[in-house]
């Protein structure tokens, strides 16, 4: 019974949690906003509370800014494309009654349990390494020259690592969606003369639209802040410096908190632009 008294009580009881969460989100944001307008370089004992838009100007006009935005977008876009496409394929595969399906499912999910730092290290030292990596062994076995992934193709290598990490998430969400598709619809389409590809195109894909939207939106939020994988593998060199990484360099390597904060606020803006953009193209599916 939602009486007036019970609603008031509910509000009162929710209040601490809501306040805590609000504080949790707002305090860092407000502090970042505050620092972004200050000239704050702790190691040099500089603290000027108001520096106008100077930090923003310097951050945006630095030669590293636009390349880092581009790198961010390429990284996010490539990982999204790979995880969604492979995720759909894997989900369809795992939905089939194949032998050992349970075990295969757990194997597919497992990369998600590995910490980003660990998986990046494993990929760097055990898979992609030109001397000891699995790929180089395979290359030598086939009589080919081992390929130095991280120096020759640093961004694709990071895309590979991050995709490997996020594929389980995409697969899992898409698998539950595939499983909820009504079998009789597929059978009806089969009787209607739709070959497998047409059934995929006209039934499975529209049915998955909502799940794909969710995968894209959630992954975008996390992918925009990818850090450990870059830190561990290339340290931001060879054109792998994303906006997040640039902020990190400005704050910690250059010890310029004001400049870094301005970058952080710009990153938040970029995230919002990307999110709005994505919502407009795929978000329609959410209310379908």
């Amino acid at each position: 019974m939602a009486t007036k008294a019970s609603r008031t009580a509910a509000r009162l009881m929710m209040a601490p949690a809501v306040t805590l969460l609000l504080g949790w989100m707002l305090v860092p944001l407000v502090m970042t906003l505050y620092f972004s307008f200050a000239d704050y370089r702790p190691l040099r004992n500089v603290f000027e509370p108001w520096a106008g838009f100077g930090n923003y100007e310097r951050f945006v006009t630095s030669s590293a800014f636009w390349p880092s935005v581009w790198t961010t977008l390429v990284l996010v876009g490539a990982v999204l494309a790979i995880t969604v496409v492979l995720g759909i394929l894997l989900a369809m595969l795992l939905d089939q009654p194949i032998w050992g399906r349970g075990a295969v499912r757990i194997l597919v999910i497992s990369p998600f349990f590995v910490m980003p730092t660990v998986s990046a290290l494993v990929w760097k030292n055990m898979m992609l390494d030109p001397v000891n990596g699995v790929f180089s062994h395979v290359a030598r076995l086939l009589g080919a020259q081992p390929y130095d992934f991280l120096t020759q193709a640093p961004l694709p290598s990071i895309v590979l690592i991050v995709s490997w990490q996020w594929l389980p998430f995409a697969t899992l969400i898409l698998l539950t969606a595939v499983q909820s598709l009504d079998r009789e619809q597929l059978e009806a389409a089969e009787m209607d003369g739709a070959p497998p590809l047409a059934r995929f195109r006209y039934l499975v894909l529209p049915h998955l639209a909502r799940a794909i939207t969710i995968v894209i939106l959630i992954q975008t939020i996390f992918l925009l802040s990818i850090f450990a994988e870059i830190f561990v593998t290339t340290g931001g060199s060879f054109g792998t410096r994303t906006l997040t990484y640039l902020v990190f360099q400005r704050v910690l390597e250059a010890q310029n908190v004001g400049l870094g904060s301005a970058g952080g606020i710009l990153a938040v803006l970029l995230a919002n632009v990307v999110a709005i953009f994505l919502m407009r193209i795929v978000g329609r599916n959410l209310d379908a």
Binding site: E187, A188, A189, E190, G193, A194, Y202, A209
Partner: protein, 331 residues
Amino acid sequence: MGRIELKGVRKAFGEVEVIPPLDLAIEDGEFCVFVGPSGCGKSTLLRLIAGLEDTSGGHIEIDGLDMTDTPPARRGLAMVFQSYALYPHMSVRKNIAFPMKMAGVDAAEQARRIEAAARALNLSDYLDRRPGQLSGGQRQRVAIGRAIVREPSAFLFDEPLSNLDAALRVGMRMEIGELHEQLSTTMIYVTHDQVEAMTMADRIVVLRAGRIEQVGTPLDLYRSPRNLFVAGFIGSPRMNFVEGEEAGRHGAHTIGIRPEHVRVGEGPWRGTVGVSEHLGSDTFLHVHGTGLAETITVRAGGEVPLRGGDPVSLAPEEGKLHRFGPDGLRL
């Protein structure tokens, strides 16, 4: 054309044999109803004919051609599913157009057939809606529309009315009947409801545990059920069965008499009225204490003044008695 013949068709799921070898021929233009209790294999049999399940043995012939291993799309059959199985992301128009689109029918012809189907099924006003915005009866009609436009050689219906309410069901029953009159295409209709079977069928196939118990016209089954199962399954309320001495008097192990063939009045059977159901047109009396069976159901006229507890005497119409042997078969 649409003559369907099953020759020794068998289906097993793993170890479990759901359909033992079965022979059946469905004639061109016939309205054939498969009826039987839930789980007896009606849907499985229909899906075998449709090609949605692989047979474990035997042959399926359609118009004389062996179609046992032909994929469903190329059997020329259209199916209407119990859940309607409409495509939720497409408008009604696109749903109906889908099989034609897959078959590569040209746009003008598509439009013509959609138009005709929509008119026949009263769907013209709903063509641009999504299935989710339609009522159960309308969805059913869309599913039928999608089947009609393919111009199949036979329609397969799997309990198409079981998700509708009682009033709608009666209406749709008539519509499907009329559709059959118009198209005179073979129809195979699966139901667990013997009333649907009796009212719609040219020929009824009674199934139990995957086995055919009897095949015949509705009146055949009503007048001369081949065994106790069919006798009990066809007709509502159920036939009364009497065993023992009274049956022996008629030279049978069991005798059956339908409620409508027992008269109230001077007769050899005496008991007390238990529950009496007054429907206005009829009264169903459940009579206890006859010493023949636990209850004898009697269909009496609408104005019978009897109530619970009243003593009553009953007279079975001798000519309408059904006699069964100890093996359950009709004598």
